[in-house]
Amino acid sequence: MSQIEEIQLPGVGVRFDFVTEDGQRVGVVHHRGGRREVFICPPEDPDTAQVTMELSDDDAHTLAEVLGVSPVIEAMSQVQQVEGLAMDWLPIHPNSPYAGKTIGDGRIRTRTGVSVVAVIRDTSHFPAPGPEFAFESGDVVVVVGTTDGIEAVKSILADG
């Protein structure tokens, strides 16, 4: 992946720049109100943002979806900023006792305080699955909780 440069724009928001493989500088300005602006700089003048496009919160999610980025991941990265809260992606191995069982069966939240916030299966994702959701071998379970709690979930998913 290209190097992303994060630049603070005091009074405006945050800007993320990167240079494409073709040498064009491309970036997104996150305005403080949630509005985003996408810009592209022509290769012969990398300092000048030329094409700019305004996106609302919704538009940004639509564009991300079209580009193939899961909005779940983005929501996750916001969660990560809360102090003391950790997030992890835990795979369900074929020999895990939970392949084929539901979230409720494992009583994960009751035992560890950790929440399952999403399950990623191949290219699709299931945000906020309920207790009746059944894991399959090969799923990736996105969990949020304390570091200790997540360690406990890891061993529960592996050994029951």
């Binding site: 724009l9 800007r15 300005v29």
Partner: protein
């Protein structure tokens, strides 16, 4: 006509005139501030449409306008951003201060404002209009440009510098003995440092605790607290402007964003009234006497500001076009120059300060955006 009818008619007239001027400014793509000032001239003594009964309201509205302008300036940047700017942008910020404060100060001495009074003219020429610059950056689609973070960091530093300059000017304006003035300056600066450090560390938590109600509750809370702090600051000779500025710095995070949306319309209204008020206090007949000084100041500090922008950006290896843009963007002076001049008038600095500052801002707020647009043009190829 009954007095209350006259009052309503006059207020309606002023506000409607502001609306017409703002629309006109939008059409031209310039800042409305110079037009508001001209509007004030028209309403004043010897103007086209002198006011009779609404003078009191305009006086009070103007005070509210200053308080709200400074509160929103404090709100603009978080304590964290201010601390970061101090670390990374200090060099460009200090060059900016020296290069743009000095010409105003020296010309102040030449005009005969004296050693203390000239500080006000230095302040007028120093501070760029963050309102005009921010609007230019967004209108021209320049937020993605390479030079923009550097331009913004200069503005943040000016904001910080205001936190130091305003208490000094405020203490001078409110007068008192030399020892008393020095005392209030020290007290104000201590308060500023304290607020910034507390806001950088605990601002989010404080703001979250204070702003949890509906928009209505939040608006009234913020406005009430700001006015009380401003009043207390004025009473203890720190100046209302500084008090409001400190409250603005103290509010941060999500709360700051909501407050900004809530108070922006109020700020626009009362800041407009303040510019009219400032225009009112000027006798149009004095303009010819000060035109020479204002033009000299404009040429000199337009050049020093442009040079500052050019130099600051070239340190980051930005192309010549980007340097031209940075130089032109920073030229605009506006609302805060008028605020400082207003303090100067309270301080009883020479009568020429008002018309000079007004003429100066007329030139800078109009020409700044024009230069920026020219600088942004694609070079003829």
């Amino acid at each position: 006509m009954s007095p209350s009818a006259t009052l309503l008619l006059e207020l309606g007239g002023i506000i409607f005139a502001l609306a017409v001027l703002a629309r006109f400014a939008e059409r031209l793509g310039i800042s409305p501030i110079p037009l508001y000032l001209l509007g004030g001239l028209a309403f004043g003594d010897g103007g086209i449409f002198p006011l009779i009964t609404s003078q009191d309201f305009v006086d009070t509205g103007a005070q509210l306008g200053v308080v709200l302008l400074l509160f929103m300036l404090g709100l603009e940047y978080t304590g964290d951003e201010l601390v970061k700017a101090l670390r990374t942008g200090a060099r460009a910020g200090v060059v900016d201060l020296i290069a743009n404060f000095t010409p105003g100060y020296l010309i102040g001495l030449l005009i005969g404002f004296g050693a203390a009074g000239s500080l006000f003219l230095g302040g007028v020429t120093y501070i760029s209009s963050s309102g005009v610059v921010a609007k230019l950056l967004s209108d021209l689609g320049w937020t993605g440009n390479r030079e923009t973070p550097i331009v913004l960091s200069i503005l943040v530093f000016e904001d910080l510098a205001m936190a130091v300059i305003l208490p000094i000017l405020g203490a001078l304006a409110l007068g008192g003995s030399l020892a008393g003035t020095a005392g209030s300056v020290v007290a104000a600066l201590t308060l500023v440092a304290l607020t910034i450090s507390v806001a950088a560390r605990h601002g989010h938590r404080l703001s979250r605790a204070a702003f949890s109600g509906s928009d209505e509750v939040n608006l009234l809370t913020v406005l009430g607290v700001t006015l009380i702090v401003a009043g207390v600051a004025e009473q203890i000779h720190i100046s209302a402007a500084v008090g409001a500025f400190l409250v603005g710095i103290g509010v941060s995070g999500e709360a700051a964003h909501r407050v900004r949306v809530l108070l922006a319309p109020l700020r626009d209204l009362f800041a407009g009234v303040f510019f009219v008020f400032f225009g009112l206090s000027i006798d149009p007949g004095t303009f010819p006497d000060v035109a020479g000084w204002a033009i000299a100041l404009a040429l000199l500090t337009g050049a020093t500001k442009a040079a500052t922008g050019w130099w600051a950006v070239s340190r980051a290896n930005v192309s010549a076009r980007g340097r031209r843009r940075a130089a032109a963007t920073l030229i605009a002076r506006g609302e805060f120059s008028i605020v400082i001049a207003g303090l100067g008038l309270t301080a009883g600095v020479g009568r020429e300060l008002g018309p000079i500052a007004a003429a100066y801002v007329l030139i800078m707020a109009t020409s700044g955006p024009i230069f920026a647009r020219l600088a942004g043009r694609r070079p003829a190829a």
